[in-house]
């Protein structure tokens, strides 16, 4: 498949894939990052994403699914626009990671792997995110927020609500 025809990806993403597969000694090496980048754009690994990635790499859809199900960041249904990932592993747990997770649950009215009705937020309890010395820490999509207390939660959520609003306005301008 060339990047110009039959793609569900943006031209930028399609071009990125074309560059990526050409880079490695073996085409298939692009698979894992490619799935993640596709998910970043589409929101999740839909059947269409899996089909297209399979064609671009030159392997079967089954093979793509076999690999994709191994990696915990890859998902097969939509998350919220802002996916809140709260680390509760040991270093974060010792400094209040569970209190933080509880507060996010209360504020958002959803639990682990839940999505808010407006689709704006989803919530996940996650394993260590490599911010142990600045615990407790979370990631919202790829952004880190560290050294938190439950009282920081409303402001963090407001920050992303405001971001959604300004991005929405920009899109309609």
């Amino acid at each position: 498949m060339s990047s110009e025809t039959m793609t569900i990806f943006s031209p930028q993403l399609a071009a990125r894939f074309d560059a990526l597969v050409a880079k490695y000694p073996v085409r298939r090496s692009a698979l894992v990052p490619m799935l993640l980048y596709a998910q970043d754009e589409v929101g999740y690994l839909s059947d269409a994403v899996i089909a297209e990635v399979a064609v671009r790499i030159g392997i079967t859809e089954l093979d793509v699914r076999n690999v994709a199900t191994y990696y915990s960041m890859l998902r097969f249904k939509p998350a919220g626009r802002f996916n809140v990932q709260v680390c509760t592993n040991i270093s974060c747990m010792l400094r209040g990671g569970y209190d933080l997770f509880d507060r996010f649950q209360d504020e958002l009215g959803i639990g682990h792997k839940g999505v808010t009705q407006d689709g704006l937020f989803s919530l996940e309890e996650v394993e260590c995110i490599g911010a142990c010395c600045w615990a407790p820490a979370i990631q919202v999509n790829y952004d880190f927020h560290d050294d938190l207390t439950p009282d920081h939660v409303p402001a963090i959520l407001d920050q992303y609500r405001a971001k959604a609003q300004s991005e929405g306005k920009a899109a309609h301008a």
């Binding site: 880079k23 490695y24 000694p25 073996v26 298939r28 090496s29 692009a30 698979l31 894992v32 990052p33 799935l35 993640l36 790499i57 076999n66 690999v67 191994y70 990696y71 915990s72 960041m73 890859l74 509760t88 592993n89 040991i90 270093s91 747990m93 010792l94 400094r95 569970y98 997770f101 639990g111 682990h112 792997k113 309890e125 996650v126 394993e127 260590c128 995110i129 490599g130 911010a131 142990c132 010395c133 600045w134 615990a135 990631q139 790829y142 952004d143 880190f144 560290d146 050294d147």
Partner: protein, 436 residues
């Protein structure tokens, strides 16, 4: 933004450019960057490997294998291309040192990769970062592009006739991929399931070619070893443990952070002096010395303990990834053990039955136990289960789950007994975890 910390006892070698804008290539060069790579290009592979051997630098990922020796295992002549693979899949709970290296000194990783490539005669290196580190991957990608633009990477590095290329790679969430053979599988676009060894990666590695795999901290240390000279670097540490280590101190301390201290530095001083002691004036209950897979140590065990691979090993634990997790006396060890095993259960790739089933049963037993439904026999069963996982799996994840569990049960048996017969947990409030 992760905060940088400082302490007078620190010996800043690997961290010496932190906080100085060294992610910018010109700034990195002002601070002496890329001189070590140029020197290595002039001196050749044998000289590099001798310097590395003299440095006593040992792998910072956790196993502590001597880096110079690892490089020397790669055959000089190989019909297949040779590769350098940098392991930045930092995922061991309690460990965040590579996070700071990628953030503050990405060119040190690139320069170290070039030097490793020159040492083994490789033309292609990979720098693999865990998927969660997207902003750090972007910093690395920018740094690699800048190094290409300067001619430090490419067909003719530093104007020579030597080629060296670097590809950066993102993971997508998997602790197991930090194991070297699983890392290669992931980089080949497969599930991160480990390979049977031997053959070792130095002989048959990535794409079947000889491959050197080093932790990101090890690689970032390499240019400093070359700049200082192997012997001078070795002199900073303790016998057979060259140089410094980035200790990430987390948990119940006043000043958590990543501190660079000489190998062999006293663990009690790390807790009480460097990191400011136990938070809120509480008492110390235990210390996990090197990431969540290393067996827990009691306060009396850290008194005279020098933090190097050999001394911590002798004390019945491991230096591991250098992630020191400090636990105060208000913490439930059963809950801590449960959270630890839940992690390994979640991350077990499922290939080896002792690990797949063992972590699952340990999690079930500890969940029941912590909820107050344990029986006296459960304590022995937990120990029996963990003992039977040890050494029975292809990769170290099974051991990484069993070893800390054994430590908790053996050293805190009384606390397990305090949970018996429906007694409520004396400390904790969280009995349910979402991760299953």
């Amino acid at each position: 933004m992760p905060r940088l910390v400082s302490h007078p006892d620190e010996v800043k070698i690997v961290t010496r450019r932190f906080g100085q804008g060294a992610a910018n290539i010109d700034r990195y060069m002002e601070l002496g960057g890329y001189e070590a790579a140029k020197k290595c290009l002039a001196q050749g592979p044998d000289w590099i490997i001798n310097e590395m051997k003299a440095s006593n630098l040992r792998g910072r990922g956790g196993a502590g294998f001597p880096t110079g020796m690892k490089w020397s295992f790669v055959p000089k002549q190989s019909p297949k291309p040779k590769y350098v693979l940098v392991n930045g899949d930092e995922s061991e709970p309690g460990t965040c040192k590579d996070h700071l290296i990628f953030l503050h000194d990405p060119h040190a990783v690139i320069e170290g990769t070039i030097i490793a490539g020159l040492a083994i005669g490789s033309k292609l290196g990979f720098i693999y970062l865990r998927g969660e580190y997207r902003y750090l991957l972007e910093i690395m990608e920018k740094a690699v592009a800048d190094a290409y633009a300067k001619g430090f990477l490419g067909k003719n590095i530093f104007g020579s006739d030597t080629e060296f290329q670097i590809i950066t790679q993102s993971g997508a969430g998997a602790y197991e991929v930090g194991e070297e053979s699983a890392l290669m599988e992931s980089l080949e676009g497969k599930r991160g399931v480990p390979r049977i060894k031997p053959p070792f990666p130095a002989v048959v590695g990535l794409y079947g070619g000889p491959t050197v795999i080093n932790n990101a901290e090890t690689i970032a240390t390499v240019p400093h070893v070359i700049a200082m000279g192997g012997e001078a670097y070795a002199a900073v540490g303790s016998p057979r443990n060259g140089g410094t280590r980035l200790f990430g101190v987390s948990g119940h301390v006043e000043r958590p952070g990543v501190y660079e201290l000489p190998m062999g530095y006293n663990l009690k001083k790390i807790v009480y002096d460097v990191a400011g002691g136990v938070r809120g004036g509480r008492k110390l209950k235990a210390v996990v010395p090197g990431g969540s897979s290393t067996p827990v140590l009691l306060p009396e065990e850290i008194e005279n303990l020098g933090m190097d691979f050999d001394q911590v090993g002798k004390a019945g634990s491991m230096l591991g990834s250098g992630g020191v997790v400090v636990i105060d006396d208000q913490t439930c060890i059963v809950e801590f053990a449960l959270r630890t095993i839940s992690f390994y259960q979640h991350e077990s790739c499922g290939w080896c039955i002792p690990c797949r089933e063992g972590t699952d049963w340990l999690k079930k037993s500890l969940t029941r136990f912590h909820a107050g439904f344990g029986t006296a026999k459960d304590i022995d069963n937990i120990q029996y289960l963990a003992e039977n996982m040890l050494g029975r799996t292809f990769c170290p994840l099974g051991d990484a789950a069993a070893m800390p569990t054994l430590g908790f049960v053996k050293k805190f048996r009384k606390e397990f007994e305090d949970h018996l017969n429906g007694k409520p947990c004396p400390f904790a409030k969280h009995t349910e975890m979402a991760i299953v």
